[in-house]
Symmetry: D2
Subunit: 252 residues, 4 copies
């Protein structure tokens, strides 16, 4: 890496479970310095006093807009994993950034780099294969099937195939026990496994004559967001304006 | 291996696709000798003239009973992959064997050792895990879903769990897109993938707190029956009477 | 399950990390009741006072022999995960059990059911396949390669093949970059992967003409011993004398 | 697909094993028409007479240059899988194309789309993960370990990490049985499995805190080049000049 001065990082929601994991990750990164930890009840001004360059916000939809308004108006970049951003909120953030064109804000629903990469790779590969199916596997306490990631993956694959004029995956099934062939998401078959001993996993299998390509993502702990957050912290200073999702940071 | 004289092997249906593959496999095995090849129109007596000890029969339901009657009455062991054996036919073969208690006959619907082993292992492991699901993956020209092997695997797992008093796999799904959670076969979820580039594959995943055990069988060509047939040829001389399925030969 | 009275369970080393996990697992099992938690400085007599039937001991080599002597002489079954048992110690425990032939003691180095099952399955399958190799994958902080489990797995496979007269796995390699073909453990190739994001995983791949059988074990948290410990607690009352390893409990 | 007239395709080396597979694949594609089959001894002029637009050449290094010179000078596009192209030969082809700027020639050492995609994905992902290793698995008759594809994959990964300033994969191994950790190819560990029942497979595993991304390619028959060749046939008419490798056609 470079011998430049470390980036000065602050954390909002520093005492929450996620916030603590981020503080720890920042402290272990040699090119980052943790200079301010702020939680419910603390003053936002301490970020400025500490010379903070980038603030990570994993807080709550109720407070995140106030946080962001403060950070943007004070020239501090932001990396945001807090949920609840709809188009109205995103437009509001954009309007603040017009006043401060030097500031970068990254808002992402998913910081797991492997999950984002696997979706992008599946999308890029989809048009070259006759067949594609998705298997997602999760712990048995999950309430929805398929997972949100599987829905989104199937949608990306489906759109890529439609654009390239690729027809549906071949399937000669005439006798099916109800459910065997999985759910149909935009023309892509999705299978949801729920199993003790698993956390969050997804496999995209693409096949053509004589060969298959499999893209698999395994996430086994809740800290798998940390590398993606650090990537955001390192990059957001060079990306003024609003960035939605970590995909643009991956240079694919 | 032993320095004993090679076993003298004959093949019935020797000119068919499967028959030719078996002839080739026998010829390549140093402990076996191919002494007679018989097909439609040839005389069965040539087996006796060649001193055949074991005959492999992959022919047709219309002729296999006549073949077997001849072989048993002439004291020749038989390894049979021909289909169409119901209880009545099996009882008929047993009645012939009463007259010739020195002769062994093996009739098996599936000679793929890996497939049989994986079913047995799944059955043995099933009661130690909270969760179990089956994923079977085949070429897209297959008409039925799930596969016959998957049905049988699920039934074996289900019975093992029932005997041990194990309850159903935990599943908190409340929102399911139709088919996502697969088919329910005797209480076991089975997922059927159909994909260009595949042949015949099955994966049984068992899970409990913090760990999973996966048993996977991949069959990529039609000759995967050959090692199982050779195993039958080598063992049937020591197993007088009727043996159904190769399971007993595996000493599990 | 049965409607019998729950088994009354005590835990030694109850305040340690492992001990707490076991207490929690016992409390969640409907057929078990946690009646006594004992740690450093507590009186062993409290087990008798609480009517304990089985005690789980994950303590220290320095104290485990005293614990066991007390438990056996008081007619309490024991399930022991503490390390440091050599032949001398095992003989001492056996001598105590002669006096109390009604008591069962289970001492096991590895309670991960999946790991034990996968080794047994590999051993049972080894003689039916031309080829077999082992890939073990662990976190990058592991000091030894291959893992102890991989060494033991390879030894079991090698012995099973030797007994059955199976020759070495075929290998036509003539040009090898140093290390590419893995380590040779008793004639079995073992490959050790070390990777961030992994915990402890092992895959045994067996192959013959046209088919492969893969047995894979994934352990992703430190609590993967719990189901094996509970299995021991449930079974040890029916197995008087000394049992070493959980293998006999698996009825394979 | 489009309702345009089918592309008129010729095949050179049409009677060879590969040539016949390509003829068959062309005949089955609705948007392609097989108009000329040429083999040793046949006249190249028949391509022109048949109105051939694209010729596929899987012949021999001894004749491929003469073939190409004829095709280029006659304004016929070429897709070439014949081996033996060094820089000198490529430059010669380029010089011919200067005269015919409307003609496209694709020369590729590997037409397996899945193999090429998996290398590109590994290269794109490499800089975002702390760790990466490669496992390649082949039939036991292969002479070299690692495979050529594995060497090239490791080189691409290594170069991508070097450019991004990523250090070596973490590895705390202090005790290693010789070969356990695989071969070191440009700083990337590569493991070579040789197993009966396999054909050609490769798995790239990338890991960071709490997550792994696995990219796996399985090739199970010799016809896995066909989809890549057809892709070349469809695209080369729009790509005048020399294209080396199918990567540019994949739009990654």
């Amino acid at each position: 890496m470079s011998a430049a001065a470390p980036i000065r990082v602050g954390v909002l929601g520093a005492k929450g479970k996620v916030g603590r994991a981020i503080c720890e990750a920042v402290e272990q990164a040699p090119d980052l310095e943790l200079v301010a930890e702020v939680d419910h009840g603390d003053r936002l001004e301490s970020f400025g006093e500490a010379g903070t360059q980038v603030v990570v916000d994993f807080t709550h939809p109720d407070v995140v807009m106030d946080n962001l308004k403060f950070l943007v108006s004070n020239g501090i970049h932001a990396v945001v994993g807090t949920t609840g951003f709809d188009d109205t909120r995103l437009d509001t953030v954009r309007s603040w950034l017009i006043e401060r064109p030097d500031v970068g804000v990254l808002i992402a629903p998913n910081f797991a780099i492997g999950a984002v990469l696997s979706m992008r790779f599946a999308e890029a590969a989809a048009r070259f294969f006759d067949s594609v199916e998705v298997i997602e596997l999760h712990h048995p306490n999950k309430a929805d099937a398929p997972s949100g990631t599987a829905y989104r993956t199937a949608a990306l694959i489906s759109e890529a195939r439609r654009k390239a004029g690729v027809g549906p995956s071949p399937d000669a099934t005439t006798t099916e026990l109800d459910g065997a062939r999985g759910a149909d998401v935009d023309g892509v078959r999705v299978h949801s496994v729920r199993l003790a001993g698993l956390v969050a996993h997804q496999e995209i299998i693409l096949g053509t004559q004589g060969e298959t390509l499999t893209i698999r993502h395994d996430s086994i702990d809740r800290n798998s967001f940390a590398p993606g957050v650090l990537l955001g912290v390192r990059e957001i200073g060079n990306r003024p304006g609003l960035t939605v999702g970590i995909d643009p940071l991956l240079d694919l």
